[in-house]
């Protein structure tokens, strides 16, 4: 897939407009970052302080609004705030470089504000209001470059799917609110126990589908790998690192906290949904060649892991293992935070690459390490986090998840005996393929030699963009090395989630992460330090005998026997992922066609072989067209019934009249 964006055409009268744009960009970015800071502070103050609430009766006709903050809201507000700080700083430079119009600049802080309000909503109606505001703001931002056809189609796709998800959530929540005869979450939670099992199950299924769609979980995920790549990169960061979390928040708040504790199949359903999404997402990521699409699928993957962890927490909690459930819950929360950090960073770095080269296609990138060293390091840190390796931001949470899975009670329970090993397998496959995907993104995209002129001429991002990335990178480092910093906050949040084991003693996040009830520990900081030491030892070992060596020299690489090494000889992202694509052929089902052109003289001589492969989303291809076909068929049938004949129209009226006369007897 070739994606080449021509840099914006220089405009006439550049001077005053550029100055104006600089001012607007500073205002917009500054406001975004300031809102983020407020959110972070507010979130932390709620986590550690008393719950707050606020009611505004006049806002929103007939309904009014109600906000309530508890530690669970706090953690999601804080993480959104933190992401926004980084993105806000970054967007100052980005907006100038990409010549943003005023609309996206104005909407960016609004989007952040809406996202900060979602976890603060204290009633069904308020929640739906801010939820939809968030969706609308993000839609406007996705459409910022609406002059490109791809952006438009992604935007429409996004709008429709997000509305579908919204409809599901709306239905579920109003049914819930009607059944408990109340609008406020607290009151609903108090009544939730009295609901009929059928209502609870319906609400659970609808909300999981709806929230899952926002979080990019299967089967309603298809908007995510379209919209996230097409949005401007700061927006992609906000969407992929902060907005998807709102789906998770919804599942936690509605399904686990208000409706919970549910029957055991709820936990199992979440685990299956999460596991399938994780594996599917990572498979797609590992064969993707569009850098931002790869990151978007990685979001599906990570949200899948988080959902799996939540499901495990619910299942374990209902299986009488609250302590292990608390580990799973901690894993889920920590992974939300870690994912926010590394995904922000990765998308911001991808954005730097995009502004510098106009490219997202990994097959055309390469060689950026020398040209954009800071961005490269930043992407590296992000990718390390995403791959779940030690020293990466995602390692600790995945470790906790695995610990919770292997420590489920062994009481001969068939459900657990099957669910847990399969989940470990899913998590492991996800991690393995995730590593492959990130190695591809970093290795093909940033290392080696440039595969196109645009990549050749890349230059480093401006200061504000680098600064924004550094903020996110710092967060990544904290998650990777000193997660103990988050210990107290997570303890408070856990305590608020008693329905999924939060009341039990959770894992202690200190220098050593210790797990209650089971022997198992990890010391990320010590691990990092000792790894550094041992790498130094290894480097020292390679100095052995250095005195006897001749002076080091530079040498050309081996060009497989030809004269000079051309960039075209390199492995591309497509070829890098080809083995995986072949292994998972049955799942991925790529469209491949090989076209062989023979010489006119002889059909034994081949003039040209064209090989084309395109990786579409198989779930989308199977699931969505029938729906679209059904709707279209219905529409066509109705259309045929409205053929313009006044006689036919009057006949409808006459039939209506007859029906009324007969029914009204």
């Amino acid at each position: 897939m070739a994606l080449h964006f021509s840099p914006a055409v220089p405009e006439l009268g550049e001077g005053p407009r550029a100055a104006q744009r600089t001012r607007s960009a500073r205002l917009s970015g500054g406001l975004t970052a300031a809102l983020g800071a407020v959110g972070l502070a507010l979130g932390l103050s709620v986590i550690f302080g008393a719950p707050r609430h606020l009611q505004i009766a006049w806002l929103l006709p007939l309904v009014g609004t109600r906000f309530e903050l508890d530690p669970v809201s706090g953690v999601f507000i804080a993480v959104t705030g933190a992401v926004s700080i980084s993105v806000g700083i970054y967007s100052v430079g980005y907006a100038q470089r990409e010549r943003w119009a005023r609309v996206p600049m104005a909407v960016l802080p609004l989007f952040v504000a809406a996202m900060l309000l979602v976890p603060a909503a204290g009633s069904v109606t308020t929640f739906l209001l801010v939820w939809e505001l968030m969706a609308a703001a993000s839609l406007i931002l996705v459409l910022s470059e609406h002059r490109r056809e791809a952006v438009r189609s992604a935007g429409i796709f996004y709008a429709i799917m997000t509305q579908l998800g919204f409809a599901m959530i709306l239905l579920a929540l109003v049914v819930l609110s009607a059944a408990s005869n109340s609008d406020a979450f607290t009151a609903i939670a108090a009544h939730a126990g009295n609901l009929s099992p059928g209502t609870r199950a319906t609400v659970f299924l609808l909300t999981v589908l709806g929230f899952g769609s926002k979080a990019g979980l299967l089967p309603l995920h298809a908007w995510l790998p379209r919209a996230h790549p097409e949005a401007p990169s700061p927006v992609s960061s906000l969407m992929s690192a902060a907005m998807v979390n709102m789906g998770i928040y919804g599942i936690i708040r509605i399904d686990l906290q208000i409706l919970g504790p549910g029957p055991r199949w709820w936990g199992l359903a979440l685990m299956i949904l999460g596991g399938v999404s994780a594996v599917f997402g990572v498979l797609q990521a590992s064969v993707a060649t569009d850098l931002k699409r790869l990151l978007a699928y990685s979001t599906t993957e990570n949200m899948g892991l988080i959902t799996l962890a939540l499901g495990a927490a619910a299942l374990l909690s209902s299986s009488g293992a609250p302590k292990v459930a608390a580990i799973a819950l901690t894993a889920a929360l920590l992974h939300v935070l870690a994912h926010a950090a590394f995904k922000t960073l990765a998308f911001l770095a991808a954005g730097s690459v995009l502004t510098a080269t106009g490219l997202r296609d990994l097959d055309k990138l390469g060689g950026l390490a020398r040209r954009m060293p800071v961005t490269t390091v930043m992407f590296g840190i992000g990718a390390l986090g995403a791959s779940g390796l030690p020293l990466g931001a995602g390692f600790v949470s995945e470790w906790l998840l695995l610990q919770s899975l292997i420590h489920s009670p062994h009481d001969g329970n068939t459900l657990l005996a099957l669910a847990m090993p399969l989940s470990v397998g899913a998590v492991a496959l996800t991690t393995g393929l995730g590593i492959a995907a990130m190695v591809k993104a970093f290795g093909v995209g940033f290392l080696a030699r440039p595969r196109s002129g645009a990549a050749e001429n890349a230059r480093e991002a401006p200061l504000s963009m680098r600064a924004g990335m550094v903020v996110a990178a710092t967060a990544c480092a904290v998650f990777a090395i000193w997660p103990a910093l988050l210990g107290p906050a997570l303890r408070h949040v856990l305590a608020a989630l008693s329905t999924v084991g939060g009341h039990a003693a959770g894992p202690q996040l200190g220098t050593y992460l210790r797990l209650p009830g089971v022997a198992g520990s990890l010391a990320p900081a010590l691990l990092a330090a000792s790894l550094l030491a041992s790498v130094l030892v290894a480097l020292g070992l390679s100095r052995w005998g250095a005195r006897h060596r001749p002076a080091p020299v530079l040498a050309p690489l081996w060009a497989s026997g030809s004269d000079a090494l051309s960039p075209r000889m390199q492995y591309t992202a497509t070829s890098f992922a080809e083995p995986l694509q072949r292994v998972f052929d049955n799942v991925l089902r790529p469209d491949t066609d090989v076209e062989v052109t023979h010489f006119a003289e002889s059909q034994y001589l081949v003039e040209k072989v064209t090989y084309r492969t395109r990786q579409a989303d198989p779930v989308e291809q199977r699931l969505y067209p029938p729906v679209v076909r059904a709707v279209t068929a219905m529409a066509q049938a109705v259309r045929r019934a409205h053929n313009g004949s006044i006689h036919l129209y009057l006949t409808y009226g006459a039939i209506g009249l007859l029906i009324v006369l007969l029914v009204a007897q």
């Binding site: 020398r370 001969g412 397998g425 090494l565």
Partner: protein
Amino acid sequence: MSALAVVAAALQVVCVLAGAPLVVGGMRQVRARLEGRAGGGVGQPWRDLRKQLRKQQITPRGTTVVFAVAPAIAAGSTLLIAAIMPIFALGSPLDSTADLFGVVGLLFLGTVALTLAGLDTGTAFGGMGSSREITIAALVEPTILLAVFALSIPGQSANLAAIVSATLHNPGQVLSLGSVLAFVALVIVIIAETGRLPVDNPSTHLELTMIHEAMVLEYAGPKLALVEWASAMRLTVLLTLLANLFLPWGIAGADPSPLAVLLGLVAITVKVAMLAGALAAGEVFIAKLRYFRVPELLAGSFLLALLAVTASYFLATPTH
């Protein structure tokens, strides 16, 4: 944690450093003999290392710092594993910094460093090797983690010392169904991870069949020495791990006496020698699999590991 435990841990690292080339040498020697060749002797890898360490340092043009430090990361992560895991003694001061999951993570960190280096060269071979290596690594991961799961069940922990002492306290479980299945799965995994037959042939340099060697093709001199050393250490460490997880006898306790440490050293040497010999002997009789048949092998090992876990689940005594 006693002073001696610290010493023992340091000694473990030194022994792995020194012993790894010997393990590789030993395996080559066994193979050579079985194939009717004289062989270069057990010390040949050491001699190769010394030779390469004295050669000129050659940096391929256009490579970055990734290419330069990757061998050190590969070697360093393996060294760290050697320091963490119980080789002669249980009480490594680093034992609680990382459990078996952490160890697996460290192993992968080394793999990733080298695959990135392979891509960094920007040559056809580098990319090809990296692509193949990372594909196998990705497919190996589920088996490893499930095997870890299976191993962690008896001791209720994934910490290495805990697993080993659980086996010491309850020797019978080594022969349990779960344990045996996990053993086989882990053997396959180790073969795949260390690039042995039938997954990869460490002695081939044919372009169509190379995996690991293609990836590190551009290394020369001291850096190549480090790469080879690292891969030898990796093999050694994994064999040691296998030995101690399933046959921990002879290992010193958490608070060992010098004699116990010495005994542990002897025991592990014997165990690793036996395992390495068996592996080498086995390699004589098998040919390399086609690359795209490897996933079948790995799927099989995954199944074994899964069965190992479920078997342990149903057979383990309830603890709650």
